[in-house]
Amino acid sequence: MSIALEKALDLIFAGDRTLLQILAVTLRMSFASSLAALLFGVPLGILLGSARFPGKKILIVLNRTMMGMPPVVCGLLCFLMFCGVGPLRRLKLLYTVTGMVIAQILLITPIVAGTMEPFAAAIYPDLRETALGLGLKKKKLLWLMVRESTYQIVSTYLLGLSRAMAEVGAVSMVGGAIAFKTNVMTTAIMNYTNMGNFTMALALGIILLAVSLAINITISALQRGTGQ
């Protein structure tokens, strides 16, 4: 452990090119997929939590099922879609970062929606009364919901981001762990382990956790400014 830690520090301070590249791909991918998942998931979650429409319960159950979808299954589906003989082959998304982002969006959106739904359901009745009292329109009510959920949204975002950064099943299938292109921290750790280079694997693990800690500290600090 101590050697791996030293190795991790060495790598960071030496600005190891491979490491920086892997880190850059990891961050690019996780930020893109978690932000997109937030964009799709939050409205969906609020809708599921507050609106009333036929089939809502079924949708909630389906969404909860999707929350538990194993990443490898998601990866396999995307692989079959994007692969050279797949229906979406012309998009040329296999073994690209964009392909990985799409797989992760499919994986994370249900999680975002599923965490927002019970929260929205809990705050909705009060907000609706307020809105009725003030004579606000539906659009304004939705906006009010979003504003009231800021704190929850940030927490949910962190959940999605961690999922994106830590996930390996889907990205290794869709990304193929191609060096200098789609190799991210988790797939690189797998590669190094397979080569018997445990020190390097552990060092990458430590760096990944440290990056995650830094991001969490920053966003949590920002979150405190959101009022709750």
């Binding site: 101590s2 830690l5 003989v85 191609i178 060096a179 397979n194 080569m195 018997g196 020190t199 405190r224």
Partner: protein
């Protein structure tokens, strides 16, 4: 409250980091001990031949439902360039010398009558720039491709994307139209691939399967060798392992090494890819994992294992010491 918690957490992490640093470094610098040693090697039946195959862009590609797909795009010119370079004098010499400086042994040898090429290699163009190569873990994890490919890329301006998995998966990947060429090591699977029309013959070559280098499969096991396979022929050794019921870790993943291993067991045991064929043998551990993971498992369990020599040497070198 939260602020306090965050600060506490950060402090706890710092402290644990510091505590790690204070500990004395273990004397041998090793994270794990690889408790395995090569017991049988350089037996003629253990030759492990690597072949290059260019994927045919007019191959009978099928989608997941078995419907024909006719418009799979492959970079045939790029594949030709890379194959011709790997088979050129320069490429072959580099491959043959690889690993000596690092491991004190050659990891790959050239076949005497192996394929070779003196075709001119064109510079990359915008359309032919990206080459997708599907290959086995042994040539990638041992570092061979990491050593060769940058030299090729630099000289001719191509960009090679390497996807590495067991031979079975590497070939399946090519059948899905995800690779322009493959470098694999399982003759029977390669021949099926050719028979199904997925390979093509390069200009100036007389076969689809371009075998050009080899190394050896090695039978590894615990250094005290409880079965006493040292000095035996490989087939006798496998028979003895089975007879004594000594633990054996199998890749079990359709890789080239797995294919080789299946051919070495005595016929009457009936061991095949089918899991029911070895369900009664509690000593036979089918692990369905990469070479590295299997070596680790064998080492932990004191089991015997078949490995390609290159991966074994790199694995032990990496696991036994911390490289600077």
């Amino acid at each position: 409250m939260k602020k306090l918690f965050t600060v506490l957490l950060a402090m706890a992490m710092m402290l644990s980091f510091a505590a790690c640093k204070d500990q004395n470094t273990p004397p041998d610098d090793s994270i794990i001990d690889v408790n395995l040693e090569i017991l049988i090697e350089q037996d003629d039946s253990m030759i492990n031949t690597y072949s290059l195959l260019a994927v045919n862009d007019a191959a009978p590609f099928e989608d997941a439902d078995g419907n024909p797909v006719s418009d799979v795009t492959l970079n045939t010119q790029g594949a030709d360039a890379l194959i011709n370079w790997l088979l050129s004098e320069e490429g072959k010499e580099l491959a043959a010398n690889f690993g000596y400086d690092e491991y004190g042994q050659y990891l790959f040898y050239l076949l005497d009558d192996g394929a070779s090429s003196d075709a001119e290699i064109p510079q990359a163009t915008e359309e032919t720039k990206l080459i997708r190569m599907s290959t086995t873990t042994s040539v990638n994890d041992s570092g061979l491709l990491g050593y060769l490919i940058p030299k090729f890329e630099e000289a001719y301006g191509y960009k090679v994307e390497i996807f590495s998995a067991g031979t079975g998966k590497a070939i399946a990947n090519a059948k899905c139209g995800n690779a322009d060429l493959i470098l694999v090591h399982a003759k029977a699977q390669e021949e099926d691939f050719i028979k199904a029309g997925f390979a093509r013959t390069l200009e100036g070559q007389n076969a689809e399967r371009l075998s050009y280098m080899y190394n050896y499969f090695v039978l590894c096991g615990p250094p005290d060798d409880p079965v006493g396979v040292k000095g035996m022929s490989v087939t006798d050794a496998f028979a003895a392992i089975a007879e004594q019921g000594a633990k054996f870790v199998s890749r079990g993943d359709g890789s080239g090494t797995h294919t080789k291993e299946l051919s070495l067991w005595p016929q009457q045991l009936g061991i095949s890819e089918d899991p029911t064929s070895f369900a009664d043998y509690d000593w036979y551990i089918s692990s369905n994992a990469g070479m590295g993971a299997c070596l680790l498992q064998a080492s932990e369990q004191g089991a015997y294992i078949l490995s390609d020599k290159a991966t074994f040497l790199t694995f032990v070198a990496n696991g036994g010491k911390v490289e600077s």
